[in-house]
Amino acid sequence: MKKFLNDPANFVDEMLEGIYRAHPQVTYVNDDKRCLVVAKPKDGKVGIATGGGSGHLPLFLGYVGDNMLDGCAVGGVFQSPSADQMHEVTKYIDQGAGVLYIYGNYTGDIINFDMAAELADIDGITVKQVVGNDDIASSVVGEEHKRRGVAGIFFVYKAAGAAAANGLSLDEVTRLADKARLNVRTIGVALSSCVVPEIGHATFSVGEDEMEIGMGIHGEPGISRKKLAPADAVVDEMTERVFAELPAGAGDEFAVLVNGLGGTPKEELYILFRRVSQLFEARGSKVKYVWIGEFATAMEMAGASISVLKLDAELDPLIAAPVNTPFFAHYKA
């Protein structure tokens, strides 16, 4: 293992110290660096909180900022933060209009966010939840509730953040976030493992000439392990599953996110996008918004994921809305 570390036990807290020094628009509450919030919450706006394990930057905390999220509870590497940390974030970002939790579908996170919502309820804060489950490789159609949440949550954040910035009510922000959730699908492919600093060695191994389609962002088993194919063939196989669930026909419009898992150069992500774009073109569909880069990583895992959001008249302006966060800025086109 070659990593820039002082003490592996301080990996998360030292990372956070760097974040606070670099980005004064975020700060923390309850004297706990793992309770990250916007420095200046907007009066009367619905608060949006997220949370989850570390090791996925820019996910989750990187999207706390203008017109996106208001707070994030930060866990250890691949570990859920505590209900108490989520509750502290909730209390700070509630501006009287309630709080929406948006996070990925993982057991530990669900238990703790549910608990935090119950504690917030005792304080008289209304909390709603939207749980991301965009990873189509993690369970079959009909069992969507078992699917994990991965990079596609980016679109849910963006839709909800814009809706809240527009001054909509908690019910409306929740409805729109849920609409984005239901219209996004993601599939990933891994070329190598990741190393959890406190463990110090690879979580699993992928052979030199192999790839694993559908692997999760903590190394959860995927759908198939096979010989690495040319990039176009890999994209064809991955997107076939996406198109089966999100039909793309003539005139349909989409937003696409090609996400690097941490160890794959941007050049390769553009090679993947080239093929993705060709496939939409062949179907007569339009890719209206494109983001390519690292949005949800798995430490140094090599690989990529493709997330596709089907747009409609309601989602389109929310995805187009400008945002400015420490890890992601998007200005008006």
């Binding site: 940390q85 669900i110 608990m115």
Partner: protein, 212 residues
Amino acid sequence: MDAIRADDLIGLFQSWRDMFATEREFLIALDGKVGDSDLGITMSKSFAAAYDTVAAEGAAAGLTKLLRSAGAIMAKTAPSTMGTLTATGFLRGAKALEGKDAIGTAEAAAFWRAYATGIAERGKAKLGDKTILDVLDPVAGVLETQAASGAALAPAMAAAADEAEAALERTKTMKAQHGKAAVFQEQTVGLQDAGATVGVFLVKSMSAFAAG
């Protein structure tokens, strides 16, 4: 005693705290067989914090407020799964007793039913999954029967404690489906579940307290 009132409840939390302090090492060893050994630490820390909180608030806060405060501080103190589930039980139990100022047999039944249901919902556990639910669900059932037949609190809790022991014995034949223990499914057969053991300890302490 015929009922547990707010001032008694503070004493009950003291009993729970003392019991988990005594059983700390036993639970660490039991959990260590198939889990991550933190159960004894989680429980002793949670109940110590809960007792301090209810003692500081005092009986004047009222029965349900004390239960709610205990649940809230537990969620804060021990953010492990079992700590969160135990906390949930107290918060749901408090909700079920809203407006009551004493726990008689019917209220004990309502409390443990809400406790068990809360844990099942939050932990997404079913009966037979080898969890604390496999103890608390039959305990609530016995208390409901006792309440229907008009039994006083002390004998009703004694019957519940007996059922808890029997239910724990039955978890030995089950295979773990949740948490780190699930990784060891087959090897868990023959072992009593650590979380279920916590359930037995809670009910037995409450029974001893009601008898005193």
